[in-house]
């Protein structure tokens, strides 16, 4: 085949090679920088990570924030998107615009808005039960305010992933078929639609996870120290370690992606095996 038409293969390499170099060279350079030492090769930057102050705390906090963000986002978005498809298809473009809006709002502007609300709230709600809410969402141990911000930021990504999943499913017919088989509304959605959105849900979850792992602006301005902010602060004093952490965070993202994909495959195999 290749002999008959060698051009596609040539073009494939012509595209893949520069693209590969574009991604791999900086990563290789980063890895090299993180292990290069005056005496040769040293993995001190990596071995010293666990004992570095703040590493574990910031990583755990980020993973917790990511998990809660994914849950909140999917709980908000999945029912809304299914409801619009079944009950009000004309509202689909409206929902799409609303979900895409955060794309055109820079994180700095979003954060400035959040700060405004956070400042306004305590001043005006001092004598109401809402005051405690403002305190609660800003507690340093688990800043829920970051979850709120991340949910907004991840809306366009999650919406796009879920929308493509829903396009592949005849939502209305499947829900009606499930209801005809005796399933109530919620059960019809959970039993007949959600399992068919597994790929879309995993995509949405992963994109959200990647966003939270790398988000710096909002967390930094609001004064919290999740992973990305910690990497930046370490970089000021220990350059080699900050690069090592960046390489590691990339690896963590890949590993999580592989785990999510494997979980999806495992679920499919289980379904096939139990049938």
């Amino acid at each position: 085949m290749a002999q008959l038409n060698p051009r596609p293969r040539l073009w494939r390499w012509a595209v893949l090679l520069p693209a590969g170099l574009y991604f791999l060279v900086p990563m290789a350079a980063s890895v090299w920088f993180s292990i290069d030492d005056a005496d040769g090769i040293s993995f001190d930057a990596y071995t010293g990570l666990l004992s570095a102050p703040g590493f574990t705390d910031s990583l755990v906090l980020t993973l917790e924030l990511a998990a809660v963000t994914v849950v909140v986002l999917l709980l908000l978005l999945v029912p809304a998107m299914i409801a619009v498809r079944i009950g009000a298809p004309k509202l689909r473009p409206v929902l799409e615009v609303v979900c895409t809006l955060p794309l055109v709002v820079p994180p700095v502007a979003l954060t400035a808005g959040l700060i405004g609300v956070l400042r306004w709230g305590p001043d005006h709600l001092m004598d109401t039960p809402f005051f405690q809410t403002f305190v609660f969402v800003q507690q340093p141990e688990f800043p829920l305010v970051l979850v709120i911000a991340y949910v907004l930021m991840a809306l366009p990504l999650a919406h796009r992933a879920l929308d493509s999943g829903l396009r592949a499913v005849d939502v209305r017919t499947l829900v009606e078929a499930a209801r005809n088989c005796g399933a109530s509304w919620p059960r019809a959605v959970v039993s007949a639609i959600v399992p068919n959105l597994r790929g879309a849900l995993l995509n949405a979850a992963f994109l959200t996870l990647a966003l939270v792992l790398g988000e710096f602006t909002t967390a930094s301005i609001l004064g919290y120290q999740p992973f990305a902010v910690w990497i930046y602060s370490v970089g000021n004093s220990r350059g080699q370690m900050s690069v090592a952490v960046s390489v590691l965070s990339l690896l963590i993202t890949w590993v999580l992606l592989l785990l999510l994909a494997a979980a999806g495959r495992e679920r499919r195999h289980q379904t096939a095996a139990t049938s």
Partner: protein
């Protein structure tokens, strides 16, 4: 196959309920889908709802299934008004037009889905699912996913799923329309066989008159949300109540005619009594079926053969009269061979009452 499925049919047997639509109305914005529909379905019969697009047949079925609300009127099943009962408690199995199997479940799990919703234990539901798969002739497909099956197989699985909960009424919403002709014919017979074995009251929505006439005990023809006629297929064909039914069911030709003094009409130079009411005023047409139009070769005849369409045992000839009217005539193929396009013929209608409509 039917001997093998006899006990299964008994197991899957359902009650055969009566269904009644009373003055059912439903509008969508300015469009009236149902305009006071009155229709009764007898226990155990297969009634086809037939009509052109937008006549309200699917709306009526969806209201019965609980997927659509109504503006006024009643829907009675065994005398009980079910319009306030949610869809999942209506006890009506439905097969949809589009393939509606759950893609993530195997054929057996699809069939057992309703039983799972009812809390039936796993072993019992798999046993019942297997029985129903045998009933629809697909026991070997139990472990297959929908994407691994053909359209016809998917609709048979959907039928098994609809029957799994032993519903009082079976609703078929154009279940054959997405299938190719050969599969459609086979599945049509399969559905009819199962319906008769189970004795389940069935409403079958279709726009295909051949499908309706060949499968149903009775056919209800709908037009603009109202019932035009509900009758056995043979009666509907031979004694249509209205010109709309006559022209919608089967093929009809319109031939201009004039009134006679005795309340009849004169057409093609002969007098005929009128079947039904004669319109009080205006120009008139007689409606005639192709098989009732006799053609004989005649060099000076008034009819010019303009087209011939081979249909197997018969050939349908189209002839043009001097006033430009085109009339269709079904003749045995051997006879039609003597009247090739371009030849002339004499045309005659049978000596019987004719259906007359305004021009």
């Amino acid at each position: 196959m039917s001997t093998a499925t006899a006990p299964l049919a008994e197991d899957a047997a359902t009650g055969s309920a009566t269904v009644e639509f009373r003055s059912l109305r439903r509008t969508f914005g300015t469009t009236t889908a149902l305009d006071g529909l009155d229709l009764a379905v007898r226990p155990g019969e297969l009634l086809a709802l037939l009509g052109p697009s937008g006549c309200g047949k699917t709306t009526a079925l969806r209201i019965l299934a609980g997927f659509e609300t109504h503006d006024s009127g009643e829907v009675l099943v065994d005398g009980e008004d079910i319009t306030r009962i949610p869809a999942h408690r209506r006890d009506a199995g439905m097969v949809f037009q589009s393939y509606s199997l759950f893609p993530h479940l195997t054929a057996a799990d699809n069939v057992a889905f309703g039983l799972r919703m009812r809390g039936v234990g796993k072993s019992e539901r798999l046993r019942r699912a297997q029985e129903l798969l045998e009933l629809v002739g697909l026991p070997q497909r139990a472990a297959h996913y929908p994407h691994q099956m053909s359209g016809g197989q998917q609709q048979r699985i959907a039928l098994a799923r609809a029957l799994a909960l032993q519903p009082r009424v079976l609703l078929l919403d154009e279940p054959l329309s997405a299938l190719d002709a050969k599969v459609r014919l086979a599945l049509r017979e399969e559905i009819r066989r199962l319906q008769q074995e189970l004795g389940i009251t069935t409403l079958f929505v279709t726009h295909d008159q051949e499908e309706a006439l060949s499968m149903a005990d009775r056919v209800a023809v709908l037009r603009a949300g109202r019932l035009e006629q509900c009758a056995a297929p043979s009666e509907l064909y031979s004694r249509p109540a209205t010109a709309f039914v006559a022209e919608f069911v089967g093929t009809m030709s319109r031939v201009p005619c004039s009134r006679t003094a005795g309340g009849g009409v004169e057409v093609l130079g002969r007098r005929h009594p009128v079947d039904g009411a004669l319109p009080a005023d205006g120009d008139l047409h007689v409606l005639v079926r192709p098989e009732h139009v006799a053609l004989t070769p005649a060099g000076d005849g008034p009819a010019l053969v303009v087209a011939a369409s081979f249909l197997g045992a018969v050939t349908r000839l189209t002839v043009r009269l001097p006033d430009g009217t085109e009339v269709k005539s079904d003749l045995p193929t051997e006879t039609a061979a003597t009247l090739p396009p371009g030849s002339r013929a004499a045309l005659a209608l049978p000596d019987r009452p004719v259906l007359v409509d305004r021009a």
